[in-house]
């Protein structure tokens, strides 16, 4: 088991390396640069700036230099914002994004599994139809429709919650609630469908029949036997779900003005702020890859059938 974990962990390194390399070259081959503005800079100034950021060197040398810095944990200076370096911007905004993402994921998991369980138990009854229709609606409505609609009713019409912004401390839930619910909706819907399907499948299996035949109570069967087997697909969905939640949070952060990483990301892409784009991509990829890794580990712990070769 330990060897499996170590082997999987070492496998992350080439993936990250490839991601960084691809993004680096995609960004660099594009026409235009961080310093090409409407008002053209004098030749000498441009050359000096490029020299300062080592942009006058051949691309491969720049690549080597950047990789070396990244390995040391330094994401370089921002090309646009002069007050701080990329590390500062990323690590001051990342916690907000991560917090939002985790809260959304937890809402999605708890609600999704409960609704999925409910409709699996009441299969083909009214409760099942209602909750599955809600789930399809959840999948069909884009985040950026849900967000503004919630904002319209809860903030502008009924004045229950503030429209947008980010408060820390005890009243933080007020600004967290709407973005987190918005972000969780599609994942809630998907998890509900997923867990319904797999619970139904497990309920029909032989070992559940055996458990029934032994005379176990329904509750015991449900929580001890069914859920353990039925949650495997849900667990393996969590990796991609978290990846999408992180991407989705770009939009939600935009709508609700959450000072997270997503807003930096879009802005830096528009600005051609090479180092800031690279920094955000690297951080997102690390989160993604590590999440997928953790999910794999959890999966293999939950399911004894998975072999760790």
């Amino acid at each position: 088991m330990t060897r499996y974990i170590i082997r999987r962990f070492l496998g992350l390194i080439p993936t990250l390396f490839i991601i960084i390399t691809i993004s680096f070259f995609i960004i660099r081959v594009a026409p235009g640069g961080p310093f090409s503005q409407e008002k053209e800079l004098p030749q000498q100034v441009l050359e000096n700036i490029q020299k300062k950021f080592h942009m006058d060197e051949p691309l491969l040398v720049q690549y080597g230099r950047y990789m070396f810095d990244v390995i040391r944990g330094d994401l370089g200076p921002s090309f646009r914002y002069q007050d701080h370096d990329v590390n500062f911007y990323i690590f001051s905004s990342l916690p907000n994004s991560l917090f939002l993402g985790f809260v959304a994921l937890i809402i999605a998991i708890i609600l999704g599994i409960s609704v999925g369980m409910l409709s699996a138990v009441k299969q083909n009854q009214m409760a099942d139809y209602v909750s599955m229709s809600i789930a399809v609606i959840g999948i069909s409505i884009p985040l950026f429709v849900v967000g503004p609609v919630l904002m319209y009713f809860f903030a502008l019409k009924w004045h229950i919650l503030p429209t947008s912004g980010w408060i820390t401390g005890r009243n933080g839930w007020k600004t967290l609630l709407m973005p987190a619910v918005t972000l969780s909706l599609p994942y809630f819907a998907y998890i509900a469908r997923l867990s319904r399907a797999s619970i139904i499948e497990v309920l029909r299996s032989d070992y559940i029949r055996t458990a029934r035949a032994k005379g176990l109570r329904d509750n015991v069967i449900m929580y001890k036997h069914v859920l353990k087997g039925a949650l495997l697909p849900v667990v393996s969905y969590l990796g991609p779900a978290f990846a999408q939640i992180i991407t989705g949070s770009v939009v939600v952060e935009q709508i609700f003005r959450v000072p997270g990483l997503g807003r930096f990301f879009v802005q830096s892409a528009f600005n051609r702020d090479y180092t800031l784009i690279m920094g955000t991509v690297i951080v997102y990829s690390v989160i993604l890859v590590v999440m997928n890794f953790l999910v794999d580990i959890i999966y293999s712990l939950l399911d004894p059938r998975v072999s760790y070769k």
Partner: protein
């Protein structure tokens, strides 16, 4: 399954076959039956699936909705709607109305505004200046004309069923034309990514060995990429045009198809019919594309149907961020994105495009689910 049981007795095939005494026909093959001992006719997979699909009400509802959308989108040029790009500056932000003309709405809007303004200043009634302005508006409404398709019409007799946007353009037309763009992106994107996926998956699955390993490594690594982020970078850096949009979206979405097709091919490639084809000297390309791919078509169709909404959603996502389609064209996503700013005052600009889009995605998802159930190999030959 349980709700279809009563149909068994009504099934004509079962009645006729039971009447035939089997002993009189010794040379005939025994009737094919499924595991419930119900006689079945050998039908093709697609016919079998279609028969099951027809019973799924939600899926059929989805299909009908999609056909309606397709007809409206295709017929948009001949429908009696306004142009999606004509701007009438006096008609900015008119609310939706079934009965009133644009002129009436314009007049009401300005009148309301003046009353509100005066109320906030504490003035009763209207000032002379304002009365003069209203009279001017009346005059305009009577006299203004514009030329549309070579015909001169009265500008303020136009009607906007779903209101107008911030440049005085008809929302209905923009939603219909935006729908064209969104649906086209969904379809073309899906087709492109499915084609790439089929080719890559088929090569990996059929050839196997090192080729398979290489292709699947690439797929694995690309799975690890934060792909919407990559698309955002591509769009922001290479400029926003439709071609880049297609390229960026399909470039990163062929992965799942490739995996699915590969899996199918591996499970099929050692079957008898492939061996037969090979023994008759069919080339690998012929075996792959004439024999193996058609056999996994069901699963590909299902996957594609569920893929279309994802594409539309992703395009909308990009348009919302200002990275998708650019003016004067519209897509559902860009319409919604534009409307978010002023949604408190101009709800119709957010509501109608969002509704049009949601209904379409809803229908598409229902159709996809229905197809998946219908093509499910476990339900083959069930009634």
């Amino acid at each position: 399954m349980s709700d279809s049981r009563p149909d068994i007795e009504k099934n004509e095939e079962s009645v006729t076959t039971q009447e035939q005494p089997l002993s009189n026909l010794p040379q005939q093959q025994p009737e094919a039956t499924n595991e419930f001992s119900q006689p079945v006719k050998g039908v093709s997979l697609s016919k079998d699936a279609w028969r099951r699909m027809k019973k799924n009400k939600m899926a059929m509802f989805g299909l009908v909705v999609i056909i309606i959308y397709a007809i409206i989108s295709l017929a948009a040029p001949i429908l009696p709607i306004h142009s999606y790009r004509t701007q009438v500056l006096q008609h900015v932000h008119l609310p939706p109305s079934l009965t009133k003309t644009a002129g009436q709405l314009w007049y009401e809007k300005d009148l309301n505004y003046m009353h509100k303004l005066n109320a906030s200043k504490g003035i009763e009634g209207l000032t002379d200046e304002q009365k003069q302005k209203l009279a001017d508006i009346q005059q305009h409404i009577k006299n203004d004309t514009m030329v549309v398709n070579g015909k001169t019409i009265k500008t303020h007799d136009r009607r906007y069923l779903l209101g107008t946007d911030y440049l005085g353009r008809d929302m209905l037309a923009r939603i219909i034309y935006g729908g064209q763009v969104s649906i086209a992106i969904g379809l073309i994107g899906t087709i492109t990514s499915v084609l790439i996926g089929i080719v890559m998956g088929a090569i990996a699955g059929y050839v196997g060995g090192k080729t398979d390993y290489m292709i699947m490594r690439v797929v694995d690594v690309m799975y690890g990429l934060p792909y919407m982020l990559l698309v955002i970078i591509l769009m922001a850096i290479f400029g926003r045009n439709i071609f880049n949009l297609f390229l960026a979206l399909s470039l990163v979405s062929w992965l799942t198809v490739a995996r699915v097709v590969r899996g199918q091919l591996i499970s099929l490639k050692n079957s008898e019919f492939v061996e037969a084809a090979r023994s008759m000297g069919a080339s690998p390309a012929r075996i792959i594309f004439r024999h193996l791919v058609p056999n996994s078509l069901g699963i590909i169709i299902v996957f594609s149907t569920l893929r279309v909404p994802t594409f539309i959603m992703n395009e909308a996502f990009l348009s919302f961020l200002g990275l998708g389609i650019s003016a004067p064209y519209a897509s559902w996503g860009s319409l919604v994105g534009d409307a978010v700013e002023g949604m408190a005052s101009y709800w119709w600009r957010l509501f109608f495009p969002a509704l049009a889009m949601t209904i379409f995605l809803f229908a598409m998802n229902f159709l996809g689910d229905g197809l998946r159930d219908a093509f499910d190999p476990h339900s083959k030959n069930r009634l």
